[in-house]
């Protein structure tokens, strides 16, 4: 299925772009499985998404935990713990 993925802050800088359209393999349907799948893209991605760093996720502009299910056309965002205020 087709989804949009956004990256913010230090993650955006590390992967060097802010958004992409991804056509997900059929077996990738949760935040966890998407993270694991992204981690296979190479060292930078493995470093970010294999669990060594805390990476928060939102689906369609709501914070979610890693168990959350991804649906077609969702906007998934990855970012470090927030530091506003």
């Amino acid at each position: 299925m087709q989804i949009k993925v956004l990256y913010f802050a230090r993650i955006k800088e590390a992967v060097n772009y802010s958004s992409e359209e991804i056509d997900l393999p059929a077996d990738i349907s949760s935040v966890t499985s998407l993270k694991n799948w992204l981690a296979l893209r190479g060292d930078t991605w493995a470093n970010l998404f294999s669990g060594k760093q805390v990476v928060r996720a939102a689906i369609n502009h709501e914070l979610v935990d890693d168990m959350a299910v991804i649906h077609a056309n969702d906007e998934v965002a990855f970012f470090p713990p927030v530091t506003g205020g």
Binding site: L6, F8, A9, A58, E62, A77, F79, P81, V82, G84
Partner: protein, 150 residues
Amino acid sequence: MSVRVQTADFDVGAELIQLRAHNPNVGAVASFIGLVRDLNDANKVSTLTLEHYPAMTEKSLLAIAQQAKARWDIIDTLIIHRVGTLQPLDQIVLVAVTSAHRQAAFQACEFIMDYLKTQAPFWKKELTDAGERWVEAKATDDSAQQRWQP
């Protein structure tokens, strides 16, 4: 309930007057201003740049304000958060809550700040005498937020 994310500065006095304007039920206004300090982790800070997630930010702040409204007997809330590049002494955030009595206003104002710090999609990058760096999230902010959970 009003939420604004903006690059421009804000006038706290005018905002607080506006928030309570003409409402004689308001007996209490609790407010918080967050400002850029010139020192963080022993490094001199020259600028602070706030990035955010535009499609999510206001929605997230509104959800926090709604939770506060559901939990305490408050009248109105205002959240203004700046983005972009700021200098020491600059205002970053204003949270204000009106209510009949002070306890609800204080509690809701602290609650909103604690949730904003841990839930709203803002990220700070500092330019310091040691170079540019992303500000790290603090464990004390997580525990401040967790104390509100049932």
